[in-house]
Symmetry: D2
Subunit: 496 residues, 4 copies
Amino acid sequence: MRKVYSLQIQYPEQTREFDSRLTKTGRRSLSHSISHSSTDSNSSGGSDAENPEEEVSPRDMQQMNSKGSRDFCIKNIKLADFGRREIELAEDEMTALMALRKAAQGEKPLAGAKIVGCTHVTAQTAVLFETLVVLGAQCRWAACNIYSTQDEVAAALAEQAFPVFAWKGESEDDFWWCIDRCVNVEGWEPNMILDDGGDMTHWIYKKYPHLFKKVKGIVEESITGIHRLHHLSKAGKLCVPAINVNDSVTKQKFDNLYCCRESILDSLKKTADIMFGGKQVVVCGYGEVGKGCSAALKAMGSVVYVTEIDPICALQACMDGFRLTKLGDVVRQVDMVITCTGNKNVVVREHMDLMKNGCVVCNMGRSNTEIDVSSLRTPELVWQHVRAQVDHIIWPDGRRIVLLAEGRVLNLSSSTVPIYVLSITATTQALALIELFNAPEGRYKQDVYLLPKKLDEYVASLHLHTFDAHLTELTDEQAKYMGLSKNGPFKPSYYR
Amino acid sequence: MRKVYSLQIQYPEQTREFDSRLTKTGRRSLSHSISHSSTDSNSSGGSDAENPEEEVSPRDMQQMNSKGSRDFCIKNIKLADFGRREIELAEDEMTALMALRKAAQGEKPLAGAKIVGCTHVTAQTAVLFETLVVLGAQCRWAACNIYSTQDEVAAALAEQAFPVFAWKGESEDDFWWCIDRCVNVEGWEPNMILDDGGDMTHWIYKKYPHLFKKVKGIVEESITGIHRLHHLSKAGKLCVPAINVNDSVTKQKFDNLYCCRESILDSLKKTADIMFGGKQVVVCGYGEVGKGCSAALKAMGSVVYVTEIDPICALQACMDGFRLTKLGDVVRQVDMVITCTGNKNVVVREHMDLMKNGCVVCNMGRSNTEIDVSSLRTPELVWQHVRAQVDHIIWPDGRRIVLLAEGRVLNLSSSTVPIYVLSITATTQALALIELFNAPEGRYKQDVYLLPKKLDEYVASLHLHTFDAHLTELTDEQAKYMGLSKNGPFKPSYYR
Amino acid sequence: MRKVYSLQIQYPEQTREFDSRLTKTGRRSLSHSISHSSTDSNSSGGSDAENPEEEVSPRDMQQMNSKGSRDFCIKNIKLADFGRREIELAEDEMTALMALRKAAQGEKPLAGAKIVGCTHVTAQTAVLFETLVVLGAQCRWAACNIYSTQDEVAAALAEQAFPVFAWKGESEDDFWWCIDRCVNVEGWEPNMILDDGGDMTHWIYKKYPHLFKKVKGIVEESITGIHRLHHLSKAGKLCVPAINVNDSVTKQKFDNLYCCRESILDSLKKTADIMFGGKQVVVCGYGEVGKGCSAALKAMGSVVYVTEIDPICALQACMDGFRLTKLGDVVRQVDMVITCTGNKNVVVREHMDLMKNGCVVCNMGRSNTEIDVSSLRTPELVWQHVRAQVDHIIWPDGRRIVLLAEGRVLNLSSSTVPIYVLSITATTQALALIELFNAPEGRYKQDVYLLPKKLDEYVASLHLHTFDAHLTELTDEQAKYMGLSKNGPFKPSYYR
Amino acid sequence: MRKVYSLQIQYPEQTREFDSRLTKTGRRSLSHSISHSSTDSNSSGGSDAENPEEEVSPRDMQQMNSKGSRDFCIKNIKLADFGRREIELAEDEMTALMALRKAAQGEKPLAGAKIVGCTHVTAQTAVLFETLVVLGAQCRWAACNIYSTQDEVAAALAEQAFPVFAWKGESEDDFWWCIDRCVNVEGWEPNMILDDGGDMTHWIYKKYPHLFKKVKGIVEESITGIHRLHHLSKAGKLCVPAINVNDSVTKQKFDNLYCCRESILDSLKKTADIMFGGKQVVVCGYGEVGKGCSAALKAMGSVVYVTEIDPICALQACMDGFRLTKLGDVVRQVDMVITCTGNKNVVVREHMDLMKNGCVVCNMGRSNTEIDVSSLRTPELVWQHVRAQVDHIIWPDGRRIVLLAEGRVLNLSSSTVPIYVLSITATTQALALIELFNAPEGRYKQDVYLLPKKLDEYVASLHLHTFDAHLTELTDEQAKYMGLSKNGPFKPSYYR
């Protein structure tokens, strides 16, 4: 039940973009496992989930919370108590957001903000939305994914009179209907957009473009959504500022280096159940993801080879103690091939024809293009589905390779997103909303911005508490000597 | 489906020993996951498994293999083809045994051996037993665990006229009946015992003690079984030599250091789903298991503290870069407590009363005594079962600790045994049988022996191939200079 | 003999800048040890070196090389053979420059270039200058440091009719005279400047500003020189483009992360002779230098604490497994304090008053300001000079701290610069000269530029050969997919 | 001045043994660098050292300490104050011995002991001898090496009326005369021997065998001395018990694993000045020394290959992430070859003929036999002595290899012994003396013993203080459960 489902909707002009959703961004759709298990036990308890054909659509139900409000559309309001417990557990873990609530509560920096949100609806994002409310905002919220909603969490929000429109198992029509219900309400003119995938933004552009006059900005988290915003921007059609929260330094480091360092091991254990010690592995690409994977496997006693196209990254691989090689030169001898390039056709049929029996092939990069899986769908090769995420591809001579997740991003398929990453993302989103809402006229143009360095640093600082970590403060004298403000930013904006 | 089941049989005089079965030894009962999944898919296909009450006992069935033999008792002979595929996959992985077949096939070192075996019945052990046959032995085989038999593997053996008596879900009575069927057959006098847990040995002692006149030796793998043999030996009742294969250097290093280095990460991810980076952890005990756990967590970016009672191990912890501390001194600040001591009451209620909210507590040591779990079963604490292997214990103030596997050995409960360890065990068993069967009169007395150093080295050498590793051979001159034989042993017997 | 001497010249208006020369840049003044030892044995052979007062100044000598040329001024032309051997040894090590000679020799990209150089005069820089000549340039060369010249290398160049003006032990007057002799020659109008410290540039600005009309650009390596250029640029006085080769990605990574990872260990062993295992260390600052130092000490078994002011770097320290703390919180318990901040007064008297007996204090940062050494020069403290680079400061209670290099940058004082770093610097300088000389009109304005990403990558690629490292080349299809040229640059210019 | 000098005395029957002194044991002759530098500055001050031919032998001098005693023979009593400072500095570092003084002072466990000692005479050993006196012993002391005496330390002891007979630069005749003066004194019958190399024991056997009636035991530290004792024992001539302090677990771990982990880096930097990052290295032998070297180089970013003859060690190398290979298979490509086998002719001419230009060859093993250096002394190869410990061997084609320390043990030649190892050795010696002196009749026979496990553990525990390390104590219940005494020993005697 840890799979990330892609949006299965097909409509002509956007097929490509929806395909590309199965990207790293997708990871955020995984709610933390505690919540998940609860969901599971819950849904397995409900017979509805088991017999979808008999189900009454939430759109056809008449539900009301205990305060008499009907401004929501969810699966089952009765799940509210259970969902509230989920949210409370998540609050324990989202310490940065809770600290932000405390720090900014007095000044209500979002007073007057009317936010329409379209993200996954989980216990963690619920903590985010309730934080926005604490900080003064009004919100309406739909799901960005038809499968990822935790119904009990939605119920808990609805019970608190939070207008939420989302359930697990929406149809395509439901999906857009829910989004519309966030925007198109009498007496409500949203002035901020919190988006994850660009669908809310797309919908407003398409249906209610006039609303953009009031909108102060868009905060977008997914690569796909950012891609769409840049597209708009290039075409001169972006009419409000947007902040790209995906590429903040803090988020990037965690998403790529630190998470992959752990999830490569986790994912390989869960799928191929391989012992790492003594194994020969080739890691294709030595960016942050490749660095994380290589370091983890080296630490576990694997012999790691690295391939690279960029001489600077290549030199780093050398200095970190990895043999830099071409894939073709080691592919016969290695026990695993891991792609982390973001490129296409990095592992092709010619390579796979040379692999030794039992070689594991998987992808930790950004898309499902790195391994040319289609080249394996030929008559002479036998595919044997061994278990979830694992296929054996058998050559006529009996030799088999072990293909994981059919070449899709492995840790999206088989690992959970650490709560820490969810927390960084949510905190960044909150700060980006505050920044855009309060920015003086002229600070932001109609363009796509990175999170200002100072806010990026603030997100990081809110997360240090978990580690019982204590920052040193500059003295006045030191700040002057360095030409820095005592509160940062401490590095130039390009610093990574 | 990765749980290790302990034998649930209760009979007065052996309760304690059967309890202690949930030890590290138990890990071998886990078959490798590939086989496992197949088993699962298979059994879920069969309606028998689902409706146990309707099931006909194998003892009441009349089955015959394609060659007309009926000398076996298993669940379903029709599963033979499927089981054969499992065995063939396992052969691919048990390269050391396959190499041994080739190396020793000509000389048939087990010609004349009549072996009764009582071990888990899985694809991997099937490769062992078929190897024994290739080397000249006759065998009869029962399961050492009432739940661990892979029925399709048993079928494949039966189809090859291998006398096997085992099925998944035996009753206690079935269990001893199967063992008896291995021993008590007309015209069959076993002269070797391959045991795992000591039940076969126990049965023969109890029922057919006269057989020991012909028995050349016992090969025992489990800690429990070895404990029983030492008990017999001390009481002067051991009447044949026995080899303890559990404590071979090769097996020990893999079981403890190398496996735990990987399984601590794997187990924690699967259960607590914790991010390791930046977490503070205290590892209690710095033996091989503690060394493996500490090294792995340090490599993943945790801050690791170590506790020890032995100053020599303590000094090693210091030199390896760990702060040596008492548990009480850091228990308030750490995010995880991992016991690896083999001792009892290492973590007690007083410690747990001080832990911070969310602290994870688990045991990687040898028994379920290290954490005083019973002290948590008091009225003021609430237990919340979150998912398999995970309980939250909630204090009156709302603080919760996360207890894994109820204090039992974590990686036995939540991780698989690497095939590599199964291979080392099986190869060691085969060599120990050959050694005892062929040893000249007088080499072994009626005592419990460790595997001779030279054979231990041979087991290691058979496993180097997997890593494409090439040993250097001593020249004559070098061997003379070192006072060594060119074929080993290369170290004194006490060398670890 | 590994000390870096600062320029001892005092003249009012530039005191500050000359002081700051004892910076990381200074490291390049250390010639590689092979050359050094040779120098030593050579100079100890010559009586001149021993009796400086009797020495005849090179300016007063009449020397001629074997071809009859007198256009040079050096210590002793007879040392030429010996110097040539030094240069040949250096050529073996400067493989990137030798590869560049081969790659670019045909096209003579520096044909027409008239370069005046002012750098250290060592075997390694000689390989650079002779490379420039091979690529078509004419050069005249003076030393940028009055102590660092290898006289035998200067002789070897002079013997090849290379106009070099440099000797070990120049006076201030000699220093400027030598520079002048590079510029002020009849029939010679330099059109490129290769500078290290900014003195050549300064001299031309002051004395021959008209020459700038012909000058195509300046290549500057030192932090001091770059600082001066930026100063000129801000003041609108920079009248030609300049390339800052100090801040190339490749050079920075090597200078800071990779070198410091090794030199922290080397320097501590050479000075304090400390055992690292089990020691508690606090590293102040977690930039590249701090990362290198922390990683190395952790690998050697030290327990490392980190202090930071920047939350993003702080979070990285946490994820890398270091306790983030304030200096004051651990200063009582640590065995070593290492500063890597680039800031001032990071370790002050209050800290040192609390340190335990034997605590080692040293600086790996950018200047000599990080440790407030002046606060230790008070009557109640006794300074005991134990050996080169090591002072014991003794408190009235007998407690002593071990101060290394009097708080100056430790590895500049006690470690050699790896040849690899010298090679990267020299190759970068050569490519920057080629770039500026051949750049089409308008590509560079009158400003200070970083090395273009593509050249940075080229420098890296020229150094991969040493590691027998093989780059992967993009296929056409892949390059298109990524939107990259097959020859790079592969990353945006801000990528680090 | 960090060289270890071997005893240059030649006498027929012992040549071999004296040769073998240049073994790891020799390292203890290196006094800690602080003392060393002091010595140096001191001796360079005295003109005697500079003009040995004019020197008056200490044997011909009439010296008296301030208390009127003349029972000593040293270089110069006037150096006493200076030497006392050295000893006091050493006391700061020998915390374990100082703790032992405190712990055992009351009971005077050596009251009645009359110890003749023959070890290096340095500040550290002085702390040992003064500890013995504090614990009740009377001592007389000679040097075990004609070059290693610190004259100022000897003076400080003499000033305290400690009978010491040692100076730097003894002749062979002096050497034995000094030893004789320890033994052959009226009214003095030694009952304990503390030896380092076996010369004191040898002398007593040869000249005063009757003394052995009173001798309670011998404590010997060097491999050579232990070899001699075993020789005596086998020949049935050993007439008192002896304890081998060299092979205590604590000492071995430090001498081999922990020291070599640091000294391989230190030694290579000091000699070859190589950068480790990205270099390919082959480490021959994966015992403790090989493990230390491999781990350190891997941590510094080298790519490490390992060769082994023992499959168990080989498998460990694999699991630790090293490619196991034969030397011949990688010798063409590596940048360094390091021997750690204890064997002979591990690197032979055939290997060296294949090495690439600049390959560094060195030995960290136990003797000077591992590299066949003699095979390089052929006419076609040119030896070029580059600096201390470094020779270039140049092949006719210009290719050169870099041979360190002429194949002798590298870290003995170029690194200092950490004070920590000296402290462990001295503490072990003291405890061994106490044990033998107080052992009840019959505990020890006329044989060579290892240090009892419990004392080995005690040595370790005395050293934990330095690391601020806190041992956990067993509860009564735990001790009973484990079948252990609360005070240890905690492991079986064979545990390493």
